[in-house]
Symmetry: C2
């Protein structure tokens, strides 16, 4: 699997249902959101800007994309969770199944970050991002062309402890799910 294919499959509007597990407290939080993923032309000035910030040759960037999300948590229904960021994949020249993923500020942390991605032989996307005091691992794969799964874990930076783990089911908004009303009383 190469990043071009993965980005092409991901472009679109997704309704995301995410359960986040706080492992120490055994607490769970539910977040519902809408995520919009759009392709960005490599000629866009924002792509050149992000490459420059990481000293990356713009010519090696592949399939840049933009992600925007807006959601709400069951912990605080009045809190709107929203944000957006630009992501720029930079595959390794000799092994295009893996590479760097540059990310502008706005995603999880409010600072820009560079992560390392790889695809497993099944085509599962695995992204590892090191922050100052923690490391995040994110796994994304498709159940069907219209259903994405995403499992994230945040570890302490020494790699020993996993602090939180979350699971998102993401359904393509255009692909209409069965037209049903929520069950009453449930």
């Amino acid at each position: 699997m190469e990043i071009q294919t993965f980005v092409a499959q991901s472009v679109g509007r997704w309704r995301s249902q995410r359960s986040s597990h706080n492992l120490a407290f055994q607490h769970s939080e539910e977040v519902r959101s809408v995520i919009e993923i759009t392709a960005v032309p490599a000629t866009d000035a924002s792509v050149a800007g992000l490459c420059e910030a990481y000293d990356i040759d713009l010519a090696t960037a592949v399939s840049p994309f933009h992600m925007a999300w807006e959601g709400e948590s069951d912990w605080d229904e009045n809190e709107r969770l929203s944000g957006s960021c630009l992501l720029v994949p930079v595959p390794e020249p000799l092994n295009p199944n893996q590479g760097k993923l540059l990310r502008s500020a706005g995603y999880a942390e409010t600072v820009p970050a560079v992560g390392h991605y790889r695809f497993t032989e099944e085509g599962m996307f695995v992204l590892v991002t090191a922050y100052d005091r923690a490391a995040a691992e994110e796994r994304i794969w498709f159940g069907t062309p219209h259903l994405r799964f995403r499992v994230s874990q945040i570890r302490t930076s020494d790699g020993k402890g996993v602090l939180t783990a979350s699971f998102a089911s993401e359904i393509r908004a255009e692909a209409s799910p069965p037209e049903v009303n929520p069950p009453t009383g449930a």
Copy 2:
């Protein structure tokens, strides 16, 4: 990865926190349970019985184990979810990274079932089980030696629709997590 290693890593007592997503309704259910996984001697009569039921040569069975669980759902706190079953892996002779998994009644469905497992090159265990009208795919991997993740999806048997998806974080009960009290008011 071979099944012996995976079973050995899984033996123990686990506190499981599972979020189940109903994809059509976008509903979520939380189940907390304790899961006990114990090795079973291949000489145990129950192992021979299950092998015989599936016309499998007992000599090809590897690392049989027993699983028991007891939990409760946030949908109905008075309902006790409990059960147990015997599982018998039967690796393929020429490719021990994959094989059959025989299962006595008691797990998800109340009938015995035979699933097919394989390990990815990362060591993720993937089990596919076909039922009459649905198919289940389960992925299990370790975040640390004391933390297992489990993602399950149930599809219609034509493979087109995913009906439910669930995510479990399972912490080894002996490995004490930080001694904390649940936060008040959350």
